[in-house]
């Protein structure tokens, strides 16, 4: 198995005034090429912090992150920008679409700076939104917005797709639609994918499930069979 990303001994301490929060306390993580990983854990356990650090959105207090043969720890601002631009796609809990741009334009915003992008319309087609190209975020439902966010994340054909609670703001039915899109991208494009959730049911669609507790990866579980997203229910 080829390791796409390796993180070692990550710690992250947030300081606000006199208060110190140890969000990560020495987390270790590997992401293998093409796999779909679900990161499970209670709220406040450090999942988002971990994902942000491996995605180059934040820097750890200590520890190292390596993407293929690039060392990300100690990389400067422009190297991190390059890394995010060329290799990572993000999906956030609150969709984070640009409200003043249409679905297609939100995707184009990313493809315009990517090296080998998909056509925005095609990316939206993959998530089943080919009829919604010219809608503004305000004109889309939450699930549709999240699927636009997924299209936006995959349109650059990233090596890694990172999703932070992509279903967190959605009802289960819509959530499943979104997970199906992620599953499909992972299978068809072979994108290494990490999905954060605190919903244990989602774990069964993964190759591996990482349990995060109190700032560390407490245990790793391998699924013999990946269940299709459509079969999930909660």
């Amino acid at each position: 198995m080829i390791t796409t990303l390796t993180a070692r001994d990550l710690t992250k301490i947030y300081r606000t005034g006199e208060v110190e929060v140890h969000a990560l306390r020495g987390a270790n993580l590997d992401l293998y090429e093409g796999e779909l990983v679900v990161i499970l854990g209670p709220s406040g356990s450090g999942k988002s912090t971990l994902l942000n650090i491996i995605g180059g959105l934040d820097t750890p207090t200590s520890g190292s992150v390596r993407f293929r043969d690039h060392q990300l720890t100690g990389a400067d601002e422009s190297e991190l920008t390059r890394f995010r631009r060329d290799h990572v796609g993000f999906v956030f809990q609150f969709y984070n679409l640009i409200p003043s741009l249409t679905a297609e334009e939100n995707v184009a915003l990313v493809t315009e700076i990517a090296k080998r992008p998909l056509d925005p319309a095609k990316a939206l087609g993959i998530v089943g939104l080919d009829k919604r190209l010219h809608h503004f975020p305000a004109q889309l439902s939450g699930g549709e917005q999240q699927r636009v966010a997924i299209a936006r994340a995959i349109a650059k054909q990233p090596e890694i797709l990172l999703c932070d609670e992509p279903t967190g703001a959605l009802d289960s039915e819509t959530g499943i639609l979104v997970l199906e899109a992620i599953d499909q991208v992972n299978r068809e494009l072979g994108t290494t994918t990490a999905v954060i959730t605190h919903n244990t049911v989602i774990g069964s669609m993964a190759d591996r499930v990482l349990h995060v507790a109190d700032g560390v990866i407490a245990s790793i579980e391998e699924n013999a069979v990946r269940r299709a997203a459509a079969e999930l229910a909660w």
């Binding site: 959105l57 934040d58 820097t59 920008t81 609150f94 984070n96 334009e105 915003l109």
Partner: protein, 790 residues
């Protein structure tokens, strides 16, 4: 080419925020318009004057003699540097106009029959030039004709050289020589009581026994001629014929006043718009900084996708350029339009027959680049701050500030403040920079309003002081020649005259070392009270000393003298004595640069028996008509100046014109104030939307959250108002200090009502913006705000 998504975002955001874009645009526009209006007016008037002078051949040099034979013309023409010579007859005479009780003075000037003079040509407005051999044909200057409703074909009567003559009007005209038509001794133009009358040279020379001679000459010089040398040689040539000192164009009466007016305008055009532009730039900078700061989440998002900080910076730069563009377009259009209006008004005042106007490209370039630079600087700072954060952090709303538990708040104050008020106070205290900025913005707008509106107070104060405290006479009569002071008794005997006071004014060069001031010396009786020496600084009458000079402080400063120093005096009349006199007193005056002397000392210096050239009169209004009727019969009267007419003219011309200018500035200040108030409230709304929505969820009513948001702005503004008034006072002081022409100074005077009005306008602007924001607050979609991050 398809527009990139990120650029489309710029356009959409501009459209989405159009209310704020327009409001910031107004702030930008106010600064730009102020500068363009002022500089365009100035440039246009400069160019128009120059073109007018050029096209109608305004003379470069002017001189007067008692009587010089025509042959002297050849000698003058031979002076190196002289290109053209216009010799003519020019005299003052009384004019009688039917139905107009008061005496009217006319300045008669000769022109060749049936053709334009070589210099100082007439701009014929109606009719024609005087014909050959027609002895009674006269052209009136247009404003004079209009003031009396006189037209070609009508008759007027003038007392020329002691003979009553009926004259027939054949035309009306303007002349570059009489843009400002001032009667002898008058300070303000008065078109009803003073007119210019052009007649053919032949008939005027005959009337004044000047056949084959002239008593006035104007020269056109070659380019690059040495004016000083020409003046010297001209003086030498004319001296034997009773020359009284040639002057260059810059000292010519009308031109001097025009240039002075331009100088005032120039001062106003430099200082006011500069203050405006600086403040508008500062506010733009501040407002855009805050606006971009609210975009923190989107900045983080773009960075998360892999946009670099400089790409994000460029994106916001485009956004800001868009706003400045909107502001610039409004500013340029408004400034050009206001400038044209302003120029037109001045052109009407001066009665320029031509008007060259185009918006000042220099002003546009300066104003737009200053605005753009400050706007970019403001936004770059905010983008930098947001882009420096790790994207993960930027995308989250700013971490809740740690509220320091201020003991005072928890114990004493908190007890008597309700929950909403406590939130307001805490919010202000937790973001001191933002609060200060809001206050500065409002203070700046109020300051500008005070600055613009205090002009009214200052000019009124100036008028009060000059016309009511410093003068008490009803009329000042100018005499054709200095008369023995027994004239006082003659005037005392006229009907209705309650008091008479003689006065003498002689032109003189005052010099100290290399500095020479060509002005005049006013001789007053030691017990003068109708027109005494009045010190504007102390608002007191200063006694006329028996000997020595009392100088206006501006003149003293120009000469660099103080009390005890000696000034070298060259009287330019009579025996032309030259003496050194000590300065024995200084007085501050708002108007002109006077030098006073005891009239007896002046007469002794001139080696003349006690005499006067002016008398100040106090007249019983019940006998006015009789008085005027008798006055018209007096042959030695050369000018009549009525204080009331001067007051009217002061308020109708100077004050009115400055007030138009000031009104324009006040409206720009209002626009600016509104822009700031609206933006502060709108930005506060977007910064606090989530928090307010949360409060709504917790059960706060609409009224309560409006109170929290608008109360904050309101409280800040209330605190800012006194500072705004102080700033206004400071700016006005700066302005008054720099507004300092030889003709007049502006006293610093701000009425409480002006502060009041400025405050009311600021409050109204705030209230209107608050209502708009309140409307938005009422429609705040709680769920939407809580759900979405932006």
């Amino acid at each position: 080419m398809v527009m990139r998504a990120i650029d489309r975002k710029v356009l959409r955001d501009l459209w989405h925020l159009r209310g704020q874009v327009l409001a910031i645009g107004m702030v930008v526009a106010a600064g730009i318009a102020a500068l363009i209006m002022s500089l365009s007016t100035l440039e246009a008037l400069d160019e128009t004057t120059a073109a007018y002078y050029e096209r109608y051949r305004f003379g470069d040099v002017f001189a007067w003699v008692k009587r010089a034979p025509e042959s002297v013309e050849q000698r003058i023409a031979a002076v190196p540097g002289v290109r053209t010579v216009q010799a003519r007859v020019s005299r003052f005479a009384t004019v009688d106009i039917e139905g107009f009780a008061e005496p009217v003075m006319g300045q008669f000037v000769s022109v060749p029959a049936e053709r334009q003079p070589v210099l100082n040509q007439l701009v014929l407005r109606s009719g024609r030039l005087p014909g050959e051999g027609a002895e009674d044909e006269v052209i009136l200057n247009e404003p004079f004709a209009e003031a009396h409703n006189l037209a070609s074909g009508e008759q007027i009567v003038a007392v020329i050289n002691g003979h009553r003559r009926e004259l027939r009007i054949v035309g009306t005209a303007l002349s570059p020589e009489f843009v400002y038509a001032l009667g002898p001794g008058a300070l303000m133009p008065d078109d009803r009581r003073f007119g210019i009358l052009w007649m053919s040279h032949e008939s005027l020379a005959a009337a004044y026994d000047l056949k084959g001679a002239f008593n006035s000459v104007s020269l056109g010089l070659e380019r690059g001629a040495n004016t000083a040398q020409v003046l010297q040689q001209l003086d030498r040539i004319l001296e034997p014929y009773g020359g009284v000192g040639a002057i260059a164009r810059e000292d010519q009466l009308s031109n001097w006043f025009v240039m002075n007016e331009m100088e005032q305008l120039r001062t106003m055009s430099m200082i006011l718009p500069t203050i405006f532009l600086v403040i508008s730039a500062f506010l733009t900078n501040m407002v855009l900084g805050r606006l971009v700061a609210t975009e923190r989440g989107q900045i983080g998002l773009m960075k998360a996708f892999g946009y670099s900080s400089s790409e994000v910076g460029l994106h916001y730069a485009k956004f800001v350029i868009g706003i400045v563009f909107v502001g610039s377009v409004i500013g340029i259009v408004a400034g050009t339009w206001l400038g044209r209006m302003n120029t037109q008004m001045y052109a009407d005042l001066f009665r320029f027959p031509i008007l060259l106007y185009r918006p000042s490209t220099t002003a546009i370039a300066i104003a737009v680049s200053v605005s753009l630079a400050s706007a970019l600087l403001g936004s770059v700072g905010a983008v930098r701050r947001a882009a420096r954060l790790p994207p993960a952090q930027a995308m989250n709303p700013p971490a809740p500030t740690v509220f320091h538990r201020m003991r005072a708040w928890n114990t004493r104050a908190a007890r008597w403040l309700d929950q909403g008020s406590r939130i307001i106070v805490r919010n202000i205290l937790r973001s001191p920079t933002r609060s200060t900025m809001t206050m500065l913005g409002v203070a700046a707008a109020v300051g500008l309003l005070v600055l613009a509106m205090q002009w009214n107070d200052s000019l009124n104060y100036l008028g009060q002081s000059y016309f009511f405290h410093a003068q008490h006479q009803d009329a000042t009569i100018g005499l054709a020649e200095p008369q023995s002071d027994t004239i006082v008794r003659d005037f005392e005997h006229l009907p209705g005259v309650l008091a008479v006071e003689p006065m003498r004014i002689v032109s003189a060069d005052l010099s100290v070392g290399p500095v020479t001031h060509r002005g005049s010396l006013t001789g007053l009786k030691s017990d003068a009270w109708l027109q005494p020496i009045f010190d504007d600084a102390t608002a007191r009458v200063v006694p006329v000393p028996p000997d020595g000079l009392v100088l206006g402080t501006v003149l003293a400063d120009k000469l660099g003298v103080s009390i005890g120093d000696r000034v070298w005096l060259e009287i330019l009349e009579g025996r032309r004595p030259e003496v050194a006199l000590p300065v024995v007193g200084l007085v501050e005056t708002y108007i002109a640069m006077p030098a006073f002397i005891n009239i007896d000392a002046l007469n002794r210096m001139l080696k003349e028996r006690p005499s006067a050239e002016y008398v100040n009169l106090l007249i019983d209004s019940r006998h006015e008509a009789e008085f005027y009727a008798r006055l018209k019969e007096l042959p030695m009267v050369s000018a009549v100046m009525l204080r009331q007419a001067a007051i009217d003219s002061f308020y109708n011309t100077i004050v009115e014109h400055i007030m138009v200018f000031i009104t324009l500035f006040s409206s720009l200040a209002c626009a600016l104030g509104f822009g700031v108030a609206y933006n502060s409230a709108r930005i506060a709304l977007s910064e606090r939307g989530r928090e307010l929505a949360t409060l709504r969820v917790l059960g706060f009513s609409r009224g309560e959250i409006s109170y929290i948001l608008l109360g904050e702005t309101g409280l800040l503004i209330t605190i800012a108002l006194p500072f705004g008034c102080l700033l206004g006072r400071g700016l006005s002081e700066l302005m008054a200090a720099s507004f300092n022409t030889e003709l007049f100074r502006i006293p610093l005077k701000i009425e409480p009502s002006t502060y009041g009005l400025a405050v009311i306008i600021a409050l109204a602007a705030t209230l209107i913006s608050a209502l708009i924001v309140r409307h938005r607050l009422d429609h705040l979609d709680i769920v939407e705000v809580l759900k979405t991050r932006e």
